[in-house]
């Protein structure tokens, strides 16, 4: 315990010695944890009991920022999906880390405190995983809720249809209904990504290294959801031949995303401040553009106007294309195809260039930065890699100041030689052996309709617990 503690103190001292860095640290303190308070909505209630009015609920009110509250208010049904997403992230995180000393435990949530505890104040690997998995879970959960029909403001993918002559002249919902009749409304998984960016990345302006780390990890989480989407096609031409073929994207099970993120966790890159980063920092600091334009486009999520779709989709495309295409060109090119802006959604082609230019600037401010590895011999992190700033503590002993619960009382595996083995898990403190009897239902017989009969089976299990 002492060794690790000393190490951490040394690290702190080392960090504060750099004059440029101390400034960054100071800034970080003021906004510490605020961007991630929304995780608390996981604990506000059962997702199905969430009503659209509940954004007024004080428990929710205190967890969300103003912009997040507005997003929730303007997109009915989204709150339930967010609650589901947060719970999905927690359960997936706990599943992935069930065998490690840090097991993604959540605190009993109380107002003003962070759900995962003080560990997120440190820029370590575990924090990077929390950010990535929550961002991915929100993306996944919103996209799912759209196809469940529980969010009414999900947008259509209008990119594949050409202009319908009548629709352009009419405004509002009439045009939308005509668009649906004319060219259908194919599922737009892009809404999940768009929403996740607006919601999760609120408050992470990328002004200091920690905010850049959070932004990068949030983006990485979304990139993993996107990379795991698969295309499915069905032929339905004459006599079922392939003269007419329809294709759509399918979301992968979130477990697969969790596995991939865990693999990236194991190979995460430690990054550091560089000169070039400071230069962009300064730029971002003086630019008023970032906050202003993001809030204006968040409004766009709910206004059913073709103008706004165009803007949103194009932004989505600009932001995602360059970094993800490099990573894995095959599935991504297909994914991005549906997000192609159509002339339909752009009222005047002339405006295009101007808007593009402005957004280009914003992209540089917020999402387009390159983090440099701590060890210059390592390659710089890619868009799907997780990044962290400081080494993790050992998590062996309880340390409430740093939000570490320790491994006392954790179950371990006697036979394993890995981290879940009792030797490593209990940090050499030894362990206890208990025998328990588990009563389970077994040997069930079913009858349709409507009978289920089961026996009760008792099985003995041996449990090892760290001292």
């Amino acid at each position: 315990m002492d060794i690790s503690y000393i190490f951490v103190i040394c690290l702190m001292a080392l960090c504060s010695s750099g004059s440029g860095l101390s400034q960054v640290e100071g800034k970080q303190k003021s906004g510490r944890g605020r961007g991630s308070m929304w995780w608390g909505i996981a604990k506000v209630g059962e997702p199905n009991n969430i009503t659209p009015i509940m954004y007024m609920d004080p428990a929710i009110h205190s967890t969300l920022r103003r912009k997040q509250r507005r997003l929730v208010r303007d997109n009915p049904g989204v709150l339930g999906a967010l609650v589901k997403g947060a719970n999905l992230a927690i359960s997936e995180c706990q599943h992935q880390f069930r065998n490690r000393r840090w097991n993604c435990s959540t605190r009993n949530f109380s107002r003003g405190k962070n759900l995962f505890g003080k560990i997120v104040d440190r820029g370590c690997r575990e924090t990077s995983f929390i950010y990535a998995i929550t961002s991915a879970a929100v993306t996944h959960s919103i996209a799912r809720a759209c196809s469940e029909g529980s969010i009414e403001s999900c947008t259509c993918d209008y990119s594949h249809q050409s202009r319908s002559p009548q629709a352009n002249h009419q405004a509002g919902s009439v045009a939308g209904v005509r668009d649906w009749e004319w060219g259908g409304c194919s599922d737009n998984i892009g809404f999940g990504f768009k929403f996740s960016r607006e919601f999760v990345d609120t408050g992470e302006r990328g002004r200091n290294l920690r905010e850049k780390m959070n932004l990068h990890n949030n983006e990485a989480g979304r990139a993993h959801v996107q990379a795991e989407m698969r295309q499915e096609c069905k032929c339905h031409g004459m006599s079922g031949s392939c003269t007419v073929k329809t294709c759509w994207m399918r979301l992968a099970n979130f477990r697969v995303v969790g596995d991939n993120l865990k693999a990236r966790f194991d190979g995460a890159t430690r990054v550091q401040v560089t000169n070039s980063l400071r230069a962009t920092n300064a730029l971002a600091g003086v630019s008023p553009n970032a906050a202003g334009s993001s809030s204006s486009s968040s409004n766009g999520l709910i206004i059913p106007q073709s103008v706004v779709y165009g803007e949103e989709e194009e932004r989505m495309l600009n932001d995602h294309m360059p970094d993800i295409l490099l990573e894995n060109s095959h599935p991504i090119s297909k994914i991005h195809h549906p997000n192609m802006p159509s002339p339909n959604s752009l009222p005047q082609a002339g405006q295009r260039g101007g808007r593009n230019g402005r957004r280009q600037g914003r992209k540089h401010n917020r999402y387009h930065f390159q983090l440099n590895p701590h060890n210059p011999e390592h390659k710089p992190p890619g868009s799907k890699d997780l990044v962290y700033l400081e080494p993790s503590p050992s998590f062996c002993e309880k340390n409430l100041r740093h939000g570490i619960l320790g491994t006392h009382g954790r179950q371990c595996n006697e036979t394993s030689l890995g981290v879940d083995g009792c030797g490593l898990m209990c940090c050499g403190r030894g362990y206890r052996r208990d025998e328990v009897v588990v009563v389970e239902r077994c040997a069930c017989t079913f009858h349709w309709c409507c009978e289920v009969k089961c026996k009760l089976c008792r099985t003995k299990k041996v449990i090892y617990t760290c001292l």
């Binding site: 029909g149 009749e181 004319w182 069905k234 004459m238 006599s239 399918r250 477990r255 079913f446």
Partner: protein, 562 residues
């Protein structure tokens, strides 16, 4: 002696005609490419889980829905896991189509024509209890209920459309092997096909009955996500398609009437090729007939089958026409009497007939049965899939035989034409003009057909590869799939339109006057070498008036005697 219009048309007129037809072709392509949306759209619906009490399970009028007043409160996966019985035999997967979008409740329009549903299944095994791999062909028993509701009906006003307990075989691969659970993802299974999208909203309730004595659904661990993809034709595409049909229909009918009148003005009875042309025109007219308008008012579930049959008849007719056209130029006359389908071509056409019948039987087995039970699919059972495959392979083999035979016949015609070419200079001027015209006519059709077929194949390949649209520049984009469909449809219309015009009998005389033609003939009679031709013309019953016979037939017979 007069021939068809093609031979007598001056080069300038012909080029004007061909150019205007090509312009129409480009218009058809652009109509699909610029105005029509993708041919089909889809709605991907994730199933909501509802719990029902046992008392209502056999009541098929009882339907659960996930949106609107009185909707079931969905249960979450965690609630199912917490339940001691895992809610076995109590869960209903509910799919309500279409989904709301942009803060509006969408509804299906009758312009969207048809609805095809496919299901994707994900399930997981407990790794601890069942370590074995699931068998390759898992039989899944599904109790399916499809219901509909119209705009203006109350939210609970669902009416049962179809009910069935069906088996599907799943092909699954493990996607994730975890310590507690192994996840499997399965190939999509066809669920239902509706030939008529007549109502505004559709609802699907799926149950997976577990039954130990009947070994039903016991191999499945627990169901995870069920995703239904409902594919419909896009309304915009239907409108453009119908517009194309409505415009083309009167033109083809008009040109058929003109053609048939021309043929009947002659004093002889129509020749076989003329019959074939009019049949081809009739098949095309049947295909063009915009019957789909009726589906906007009436529920016509047989539209899918009907459109397959209409296309089938047209293709069968087109293939037969090519064969007969080549055969009529075969230059071997074994029977002196007028050729008919029955006397000469039944053997040639048997491949077309076999292929078409096998495809027809397959279609009846698939879409015909779906009229009665929309959940039926011949592909879902291993035996059915084998039977279906047999029919398709049979059709494919017939097509291959047909094309080999057609190529052989065309090769033979070209060889005969080559032979004839060598003797052309020795002929009289009128006769030479005549033959050159005939060869030209045959080659014209060959060229047109080859171009059309090549464009069809190229368009098909392009449509498959490009997948969607193609940006011309920033403002113009071409919807390739739709452009291919309208382009090909327009092309075969224009092709047959051109055939009916160009191969109609001409009123014009040959450049040499009629009487001088006779003098030439009488001159030739003196020449011993031409004696055979005289015999040819005299003993053919239909040649009572040589100036009116289709020069085509006379040519073939002539060559036969040479």
């Amino acid at each position: 002696m007069s021939g068809t219009i093609l031979e007598n048309l001056s080069g300038r007129k012909l080029s004007i005609l061909v150019a205007s037809l090509l312009l129409c072709q480009v218009l058809c392509f652009l109509l699909g490419g610029l105005y029509a949306p993708l041919p089909a759209g889809h709605v991907t619906v994730l199933g909501s889980l509802c719990r029902e009490d046992h008392a209502r399970q056999n009541d098929t009028e009882f339907l659960l829905y996930s949106r609107g007043a009185g909707a079931c409160i969905p249960v979450t996966r965690e609630e199912v896991e917490r339940d001691s019985m895992k809610m076995a035999n109590e869960l209903v997967h509910v799919f309500q189509m279409p989904l709301p979008r942009d803060l509006r409740d969408l509804d299906y329009s009758r312009w969207q024509q048809n609805l095809i549903g496919v299901l994707q299944v994900e399930f997981g095994y407990d790794s601890s209890s069942e370590l074995r791999e699931p068998p390759r062909e898992l039989q899944l028993t599904i109790d399916m209920r499809l219901a509909y509701r119209n705009k203006g009906d109350p939210d609970n006003g669902w009416k049962l459309y179809a009910h069935g307990v069906e088996h599907r075989y799943l092909d699954c691969v493990p996607t994730n092997v975890g310590p507690t659970e192994t996840l499997y993802s399965c190939d999509m299974i066809p669920l239902f096909e509706l030939g008529a999208l007549h109502h505004s909203f559709y609802l699907l309730n799926l149950r997976f009955p577990l039954d130990t004595p009947r070994q039903m659904n016991l191999q499945f661990g627990h169901m995870h996500d069920l995703t239904l993809t409902a594919i419909h034709q896009n309304g915009g595409f239907t409108q453009i398609w119908l517009l194309l049909k409505t415009v083309l229909f009167p033109f083809v009918v008009g040109i058929m009437i003109w053609f048939w009148r021309r043929v009947h003005l002659l004093q002889r009875s129509p020749a076989l090729l003329e019959y074939m042309l009019i049949y081809l025109g009739a098949a095309l007219t049947f295909l063009n007939l915009p019957l789909e308008y009726l589906s906007l008012a009436f529920e016509m579930p047989y539209m899918l089958l009907l459109s397959d049959i209409r296309q089938g008849i047209f293709y069968a007719m087109l293939l037969s026409f090519w064969l007969v056209f080549a055969g009529e130029h075969m230059l071997i006359q074994d029977a002196p009497n007028k050729s008919t389908i029955r006397s000469r071509y039944w053997k040639h056409l048997s491949a077309v007939v076999v292929g078409c019948i096998s495809l027809f039987v397959f279609d009846i087995c698939e879409r015909g049965v779906q009229l009665r039970n929309p959940f039926y699919s011949i592909w879902t059972t291993p035996l059915g899939a084998k039977v279906a495959m047999t029919f398709i392979v049979l059709a494919g083999v017939s097509a291959a035989i047909y094309f080999l035979f057609l190529c052989y016949m065309i090769w033979k015609v070209f060889r005969n034409i080559g032979d004839k070419r060598t003797s052309l200079p020795s002929m009289s001027q009128a006769r030479r003009l005549h033959y050159e015209g005939l060869i030209y006519r045959f080659k014209f059709l060959m060229l047109a057909t080859l171009v059309c077929a090549a464009l069809t194949v190229a368009g098909f390949v392009m449509g498959q590869m490009a997948e969607g649209q193609w940006d011309w520049n920033d403002n113009v984009e071409i919807q390739l799939t739709s452009a291919f469909l309208t382009g090909v449809y327009g092309m075969w219309n224009i092709y047959i339109f051109a055939l009916l015009i160009l191969y109609a009998p001409s009123h014009k005389q040959w450049p040499t006057m009629h009487h001088s033609d006779e003098t030439t003939q009488s001159n030739e009679n003196i020449v011993a070498s031409a004696a055979s031709e005289e015999i040819e013309f005299s003993h053919l019953p239909s040649d009572s008036n040589p100036s009116e016979i289709s020069s085509l037939t006379s040519f073939t017979r002539k060559v036969a005697f040479d």
